[in-house]
Subunit: 336 residues, 2 copies
């Protein structure tokens, strides 16, 4: 999927209040700050991002080319009351990029206004092709996949950090995006949760194709095998990735799975989670193994976090880091 | 998904030669013979179905209303050289129904000719809605799901047989179709391998909704957790079905997984397969358990088959049948 979305972006936050719903905006701002002029919130929107709040006019004056919908919601729908801002953005001179399931063209006013002003509408979650059916055939090159106990526990962040650390060491590697934020950051990828169910593993094979024997694909994981809504995406991604290396991502302060009723599904035990991921991964790559744990300790106190990581490292015998605090050097050293 | 496909059908076999590729035609002919006038093959087509070979003209004279593409292929594409027959069928007075991924409307000649003659084109594999995201929430009613060691091992057949046996006993039950053949047989269902990846478990929740506490949904399984192409469909279907009861389907004379290179993926061991299916199923229904094994012994000799079934029954302590030979009474008795 080749994108030619015009940069820089103005990140649209809507009226979202929870930090994790804005992970798309956060990811883009963190990994490619040079591509972002600021953010635009609606009344009630409160998201803690270190970005200036801009009007459409200010953003255009600062050179913004595209309004990027920087928030996600379960189901990927576009609330109706956002439309007014989209129409104003198109009129002000911006294209719009969306990572929602709902297509921008399916909002009649938006489609019409975009056409009137000659603006582009991007739906990065909609592949404009069928991936092939997964073949399960072995490909050369090395692959690492991040997996998780839940959604939104740092799988994209960890993959981006590992890719960066490998490149810094002069090792051939590429970040392989499988979600809307990753695709906007990287400029390419396969929106794996948006392909037809029969083609999930084929999409994963497509995003991380055959490569040189010493080249690493660092593949952004999705969902969790334990998530009652999204496990299909996860297992297909694991099978198609044929990972040599797995990194488990987890947020210890989260008790209940995200996106389903609070209190209905606990996060799995780490050992149980690793066992199931390994069993699945070894179906297409018998040599798959875990090479590290990536823990989001953002809601823990420093000492508590340090002790927790140390305990995990001893318990599982794997390099254990909070990538935001410690970087991912330890994991990368284990990898190479 | 409410269908109003006109019956009876003429089953189109194309130039397929392998019996299992015609499982759609076979399933319709076997379960609803009253809806079928005959079959139409192309040159080279050789499929052992107990149906008269008819020309389009003969079929129309016998009252046929719809040409049903009765074969499946990996990927669900429509070979170009079939188009000519489709055009003749439309001209002769037939609608066309397809279970392929490729839409009939995407064949320009077919779309144009259908419009010219006012015929209908049905794509039963294409839901014309988004299912909701799976919630994982407990629903009343009882559910049985057939699972398998591979594709095409009898999951639909077994579910249809169990539903029929339950109804014969006066027990409230419905067959819940999740594939194109099942949908054509039942007249409703959700084409679960054709929904967007994020909505697989939501589709499964939709196909087997809340029901009376003593009502059984007998849900047609898809794929296999061990299939490198299709496991995503399978796990989402298991999670969304929340099965109280599982039946394992298997074909012992099949050594290699279907749809991938011969010799690359062996069928899993039955115990390993049941363990993984149970682990996954218990995520959304902690009371899930296996209630039987359904074995396709069609390529075994009678004595060999009988001994094999007996051995399995002893080994796993579960009612074990070849549904085509023995019926499914034994399993249904365990269920009620």
């Amino acid at each position: 999927m080749n994108l030619t979305i015009q940069k820089p972006y103005l990140l649209f936050i809507g009226d979202v209040t929870e930090g994790e719903s804005a992970k798309m905006a956060d990811g883009i701002a963190r990994w490619t700050p040079e591509n972002v002029v600021g953010k635009l919130s609606l009344e009630g929107g409160k998201v803690n991002l270190d970005l200036p709040e801009l009007s459409l006019k200010e953003a255009v004056e600062l050179g913004a080319k595209t309004l990027v919908i920087g928030v996600v919601n379960s189901g990927g729908f576009i609330p109706e009351h956002w439309t007014k801002t989209f129409l104003q953005a198109l009129e002000a001179g911006l294209d719009i990029a969306s990572g929602m399931h709902k297509k921008l063209e399916d909002l009649p006013d938006v489609a019409e206004t975009a056409q009137k002003y000659g603006r582009k509408l991007w739906n990065v979650r909609h592949p404009n092709y069928y991936p092939p059916i997964g073949t399960g055939e072995k490909r050369t090159g090395k692959r690492l996949l991040t997996v998780g106990t839940d959604c939104s526990v740092g799988k994209m962040f960890t993959a981006l950090a590992i890719n960066k650390a490998l490149k810094n060491k002069g090792i051939k590697s590429d970040f392989r995006a499988t979600g809307q934020t990753g695709i906007l950051i990287e400029g390419s990828g396969v929106p794996i949760d948006a392909v037809i169910a029969d083609f999930i593993s084929g999409g994963a094979e497509m995003v991380a194709p055959e490569n040189e024997p010493d080249h690493w694909d660092i593949i952004e994981g999705q969902g969790s095998l334990f998530h009652p809504s999204f496990a299909g995406v996860t297992i297909g991604l694991i099978h198609g990735s044929q990972p040599d290396a797995l990194v488990l991502c987890h947020k210890p302060t989260r008790k209940w799975m995200r996106g389903v009723s609070e209190g209905s599904y606990q996060l799995p035990d780490l050992q149980v989670c690793m066992d199931l991921n390994l069993e699945v991964a070894r179906r297409t790559n018998p040599n798959a193994k875990f090479v590290g744990l990536s823990i989001n300790t953002s809601e823990m106190e420093t000492t508590e976090a340090k002790n927790y990581l140390k305990d995990l490292e001893e318990k599982y015998g794997l390099p254990t880091v909070d990538p935001l605090q410690d970087g991912v050097e330890k994991i990368v050293n284990k990898l190479v």
